[in-house]
């Protein structure tokens, strides 16, 4: 018989498993995302600077 306490135990186990998996995954992929994001912003700034320099 599945009791309310069992439901909460299942939720707690799911939280711990999900949270630890997401932490590891996001720690790795998030660092890559930040690097890419800063790279794109850097490129955008350089393009704007070039456009400003070339404008009369």
């Amino acid at each position: 018989m599945f009791s309310p306490a069992d439901f909460w135990l299942a939720m707690i186990v799911a939280c711990i498993i999900w949270f630890s998996t997401v932490t590891v995954y996001v720690a790795i992929r998030g660092a890559m995302d930040i690097r890419q994001m800063l790279k794109r912003l850097e490129q955008r700034h350089q393009e704007q600077k070039r456009a400003e320099d070339s404008s009369p």
């Binding site: 306490a5 707690i12 939280c15 949270f19 997401v22 995302d33 930040i34 800063l38």
Partner: protein, 502 residues
């Protein structure tokens, strides 16, 4: 004062984290040259940094203390709000309900989208209630954070103000300098530190306080109501309905959540961030809830009696964490984790409410295009002023009920009306500015009246009898009714051909 376990090793860990977080926040300042880079990171946010940022932002010390307080006061049933929030966020992310048209519109705030349908005045009025609800909501963050740190680190209560000020200055400096970019980078770091600390403490809590002891103490104190919110005499249907409405509307319009959607590279990315972050909302109530129940199971009965007498149940969890003999250095990791959680929340909230003030409330004063430099200067000044407000409000406002109840009511000030307006603007063709104005006024007046009534001796009893959750449900219903009645009234008065706001 409890016999706390915080040592110099723990202090060193916290100090190291503090320095690294501020340095990371300041390191991205060179990428901020425009207002949209300051407010929405140039809309360059990807999925995983978005997940980290959203999760870190929506979990601060105040959330942790309020969720633990719910666990302490209602057992496992106290985590119902988190499960409802997770379900709402997943469904909204999956279907794109409202958030798809919102992100597709390329706006910075919800109020900006509302202008398209309801006109500039409604945008301004929306901005006003968003800022009012948001700032009142955020008003208790610093005090909750300060209380937690003072208890867990074993400082004298006299240091509360200094602790609050130090936290605010640290967060304020990098937020003012780097805006959303600093927030995203520090949120990422803070997510990792916060998650490691929370997981370690939770696993050890379950090790020290066995599952059978947790279920027994909940059964003894709350019976079946400790496991089932509908069987709990202090929760019941009103709690479940109010939390369902509140959480669904927060996922649609809460500016700190929406800011991540609007910073996403595209709509699909925003929807993925929603779906993949959704279960975190269950975690952020269940995990601190376990800490709160563990406090109930392990704290000295005299301490429990004193906390109940002082209506300070929110302090039970910090006392539990402060007095448990964790392995060396874990208290430091835990404090760093909580500090991380709080800094990410504070920085995001400072920036977000500031963005509404700049983007919506100051919009009428920006008839001519402001230079990027001037826009940045204004944004930074607004963030600094919000920080000063928080410091004074946090010290002054006395909490009459639990933290979560306060957060719910202040959030309702704008969630009820803004969610009504957003849904109507996206999916109801007859909605117009009369209905929108009526919904905003009704949605703000009821919860503010309740907050005022509970502070006045003459009406305190009445406010308590009605209950905050009934007021909340009534506010959502009234805002919806006001939108329909107001819109049809305009159609009746002006005729179907003349319902445009401008």
């Amino acid at each position: 004062m409890p016999d706390v376990q915080f040592s110099w090793i723990d202090g060193s860990i916290v100090g190291l984290y503090f320095v690294v977080a501020i340095a990371a926040g300041l390191s991205v300042r060179k990428y901020v040259g425009k207002v949209d880079e300051f407010l929405v990171a140039g809309r360059e946010m990807d999925i995983y940094v978005g997940i980290a940022s959203l999760a870190a932002t929506e979990f601060g010390i105040v959330t942790c203390m309020s969720a633990a307080e719910l666990g302490f006061k209602h057992g496992f049933a106290g985590a119902t709000a988190g499960i409802l929030g997770a379900a709402a966020m997943f469904l909204i992310g999956w279907t794109g309900f409202c958030i798809k048209p919102l992100r597709d519109a390329g706006v910075i705030t919800v109020a900006e989208l509302l202008e398209v349908r309801f006109g500039a005045r409604i945008r301004w009025l929306s901005g006003l209630v968003i800022v009012l609800g948001g700032l009142l909501n955020m008003g208790v963050f610093l005090r909750a954070g300060g209380d937690f740190l003072v208890i867990v680190c074993g400082f004298s209560p006299d240091y509360l103000e200094i602790t609050m000020t130090a936290m605010l200055i640290a967060v304020g400096v990098y937020t003012i300098v780097g805006g959303m970019l600093s927030v995203l980078v520090t949120d990422y770091l803070q997510f990792v530190v916060m998650s490691v600390g929370m997981l370690a403490v939770t696993v050890l809590t379950l090790w020290y306080v066995p599952w059978s002891q947790l279920t027994t103490v909940v059964e003894e104190h709350y019976g079946a109501g400790g496991f089932n919110p509908l069987a709990n005499e202090n929760l019941g249907w009103t709690h479940v309905i109010f939390q369902a409405l509140l959480n669904a509307s927060a996922m649609l319009t809460w500016q700190t959540i929406i800011a991540r959607l609007l910073s996403a590279r595209d709509t699909k990315t925003g929807q993925k961030v929603y779906m993949r972050t959704s279960f975190f909302y269950a975690c952020q109530f269940i995990i601190p809830g376990i800490w709160g129940i563990a406090a109930l199971a392990t704290l000295d009965p005299e301490v429990l009696t004193q906390l109940a007498a002082d209506k300070n149940e929110a302090h039970a969890m910090p006392y539990f964490l402060a007095t448990t003999a964790w392995p060396i250095g874990l208290t430091g990791v835990l404090v760093a984790a909580m500090l991380a959680a709080d800094m990410s929340t504070d920085s995001s909230y400072l920036l977000t409410w500031g963005s509404v003030i700049y983007n919506d409330l100051l919009a009428p004063f920006r008839k001519t295009q402001w230079s990027e430099k001037r826009g940045l200067r204004w944004n930074r000044t607004i963030v600094a002023l919000i920080g000063v407000f928080l410091l004074f409000y946090g010290l002054w406002y006395p909490l009459k009920h639990g933290i979560w109840i306060y957060l719910s009511v202040t959030g309702t000030i704008y969630l009820a009306s803004m969610s009504t307006l957003l849904i109507a603007s996206c999916y109801w063709k007859r909605a117009n500015n009369w209905g929108a104005a009526a919904a905003i006024v009704v949605g703000a007046v009821l919860p503010i009246a309740h907050l005022v009534a509970e502070q006045l001796p003459a009406t305190e009893k009445l406010a308590h009898q009605i209950g905050i959750e009934r007021t909340g449900i009534a506010t959502f219903v009234a805002a919806g009714v006001a939108m329909v009645v107001g819109s049809y009234l305009k159609l009746a008065v002006k005729g179907a051909g003349d319902v445009q706001p401008r």
